[in-house]
Amino acid sequence: MEKITEWETVIGLEIHVQLSTASKIFSGSSTAVGAEPNSQASLVDLAMPGTLPVLNRGAVEKAILFGLAVNAEICQRSVFERKNYFYPDLPKGYQTTQLEAPIVGPGKVDIQLENGEKKVVRIHHAHLEEDAGKSLHEEFSDAQGRGMSGIDLNRAGTPLIEVVTEPDMRSPEEAVAFARKLHGIVTSLGICDGEMSQGSMRFDVNVSVRRKGDETLGTRTETKNLNSFRFMDAAIRQEVQRQIELIEDGGTVIQETRLYNGDTQASRSMRSKEDANDYRYFPCPDLLPVVVTDADIAALRATLPELPDAREARFIDSYQLSAYDAGLLAGNRFAAAYFETAAQHSGDAKLAANWVIGDISARLNAEDIAIEQCPVSAENLGQLIQRIKDGTVSSKIARQVFDACWQGEGSPDEVIAAKGLKQMSDTGELEKIVDQIIADNAEQVAAYQAAEGGKQKKMFGFFVGQAMKLTQGKANPQQINALLQQKLAP
């Protein structure tokens, strides 16, 4: 434990965000995922001799929207460069990217931790570039039976922005909070579908450690292609531990690229690539400088949707949510929209927020689906909350109704009617039940009446339980409580 206070972790992130354009950055091929290999690889994507790139306006606009959302300077004259290296999934033998003049300059993102602490993470820049294809390793072999790799170029040329942060994060929690925030921003903007498991957002983490108080940064490693928040958290923890142990054992950290394997939860150094590190960047002569005017920027700014920070503030202000709950809901535009609809239909924002953050999130996680696919509509959640508030069902029965709605058995009102789940609120009928409980449990009644304050309180629960059992949970709890108090009084 001592070690943790002695060392400081320094984390910077590079995030590849696939832009959700219909076509590729430099060709008119579709970017849809899941197509047959190479069925979306055009002459340009295949780097056929003589072919040339033409830039997609949608990619440029989405990159600018991102820049505006993180309060960044937009570079009015950005330049594409070639990063030269050989790899079978890189058809031209270079990646068209930006280096000296990226489209998005320095910006910043506010993050909030679970303990309520706030922090600013600076964005160094974000640049536009093209994605590579994929190497598939299974089942291919040559005539001699040697293993071969298959190359699928459908992804080649999908537009990306690479967002590079300053090394401003000091813990895995901060890194994950930033990553979630960024996810919220790009999905709220609608510039990325945010499907991390599909590789729509891929995180590279640069991690170094230094002794508390040191001014200079330690040697960093880069762990590549983390595609879930959980892996990111685990990979950082592991890498920090590895570096600390290495240094404490008298070793030194070497600057290297590491690959994290989510299945084995282990990372390893990638085959040394220092010979390939001379990328010979130079301005791409097939593309001209991308010029963006003030008017272009103003027009795009006018289309900016509400972003997580503004939404969070509004949720606190309009719905009196706690900052933490507001932050959770505001981060995802679909969750936010769901919450707002449910809040309006139920007339109780606090309850709606609890349901979305609690039961609904848990259920969505368990079934691994997004809130857009939630089988219970926000309107129906609102209706259910209303039924709790007007006493038609108890909170407990409400969960039963929710399950039935999730299974597609209808709206809450339909389920309550079909299953007869309406709460018993008829005082006469409830009184009969209470009388019967007292009659059937004379021993417990005697013990109760003899007991002291604290113990008596505990024993009271038994009688409530009996009442619920007899009514299959439908008894109105407030009424039952009142009746029992009255009838059990000695």
Binding site: G28, S29, A41, L55, P88, G150, R271, D278, L288
Partner: protein, 95 residues
Amino acid sequence: MALDPQALAGVAHLARLHLDAADSDALTDRLNSILGMVDRLQEADVDAVQPLAHPLDASQPLRPDAVTEQDIRDQVQALAPASEGSCYLVPKVIE
């Protein structure tokens, strides 16, 4: 500035060109004669000069974000030295 055979080997690797050891000295000499000619660039006073990447002062045209390409795989994959199951085949890629 001049190349020696060892530096040449590094450059050849970057360019993914195989060099015959037997030709290396002769090639080094020829490349050095080219580099020697090119070295005259150092004469120029260019401190205050902006580099020129494109002859015309134009800006990048933008294309609408629309899918305009068809699936041409069968036609173009016939040109590939090796392919299987819709994929281009290469000797195993090791990461």
